[in-house]
Symmetry: C2
Subunit: 236 residues, 2 copies
Amino acid sequence: MKIDVCTSPALYSFYKKEGDIVIVVDIFRATTTICAAFTNGAGSIIPVANIEEAKRYKSKGYLVGAERNTQKCDFADFGNSPFEYKASIVDGKDIVFTTTNGTHAIESAQGCKELYIGAFSNMHNLVEKCAKKTERIVVICSGWNNRINLEDTLFAGAFVEEMKLRTMVEADSDALLIALNLWISAKENPLQFVKVSEHYRRLQLHGFEDEAEYCLTQNTTTVVPYYDIKNKLLRV
Amino acid sequence: MKIDVCTSPALYSFYKKEGDIVIVVDIFRATTTICAAFTNGAGSIIPVANIEEAKRYKSKGYLVGAERNTQKCDFADFGNSPFEYKASIVDGKDIVFTTTNGTHAIESAQGCKELYIGAFSNMHNLVEKCAKKTERIVVICSGWNNRINLEDTLFAGAFVEEMKLRTMVEADSDALLIALNLWISAKENPLQFVKVSEHYRRLQLHGFEDEAEYCLTQNTTTVVPYYDIKNKLLRV
């Protein structure tokens, strides 16, 4: 099986191939939060790239999650914390969602054959699903404003390692090798490893350290959200 | 001192800041070859981004180095091998140079305050020069068709490690941390480490393994080529 790793949404056009299956990852925190919302019963999540579109949905009565630069937008019901999307609020609901980086990465992958949401929290079931595929799989790291980041690259490395335990992986991409090498250095204590990262320090500044720990914990959920291309929304 | 690492020319707009000093690196092989040509007495190197421009210079009598996809272009005097630019041919000459990735990276950095050419071959003197600067330094990895690569990222990590031995470095960029981590994994035997890389395999296919070894060897030259912004050419 061929796997590749694209370390920034801005690079995807250089990695893209017809028929790719794409895994979008934004560990801190969009894709972890999407998994948490579905775990708590959300019916669908409509990713939108800009605030104006999110506001239009809000005025129509939708629940809206909106974050920019680590903080919840004033008009929204939720920010980008996986802890906010509680079953008592989201169960059975369609939620509109826009974040600094994660929803941008989903947009950049439009045109792929299938798109799944990846996080440490759903690693096991994501890998189980991907190991059955025959298509090339590309992990797109959301990064931070198109800059590459530590935590998404770590996820890519962890994903590749797990895939290699289940199937033959052609590890012929330099970006994949870099991600795998990074994960091998970090895996004994990923939380400690990312404490020097740009985003961890941003989370810390806002008192979100507990979330960082949750976002790096593997297999806390079984959901594997996918993008329903026709209806432009995420489902499980 | 602030240092950042930009792992692909296509990402530079997201890393760029006013007043940056830029180090352009294309280990396999453009920046190693540029250093070799100056070591052997070249007067200047005129980097051009496309083949047509290189052909126009050739018709005016210039010596031309031109490579695409690892191979020398038919019309050119040299390809992209550091071994071709011998003193008997290049001493005192102005050379026009276009390669798949390296000259593209130089173009992408236009607008920076100063631009230097980095390679393992000139590491010591490059670091000596950079350690005296007060501006932010950004290493731009040329990559391969805007995809990130192992050898340029390794150089970035090695450069950061050397800089840290000489001055206080603010290591607050995730890309820098990834590059440094990669170099620490590889530095005992960089040649062995890159043997799995995409570009090493391309070089191997064309019988250029000796060049790969040379390109990864530190401190074989003292030149630190810089880009003369006014005249759009490289000098020492």
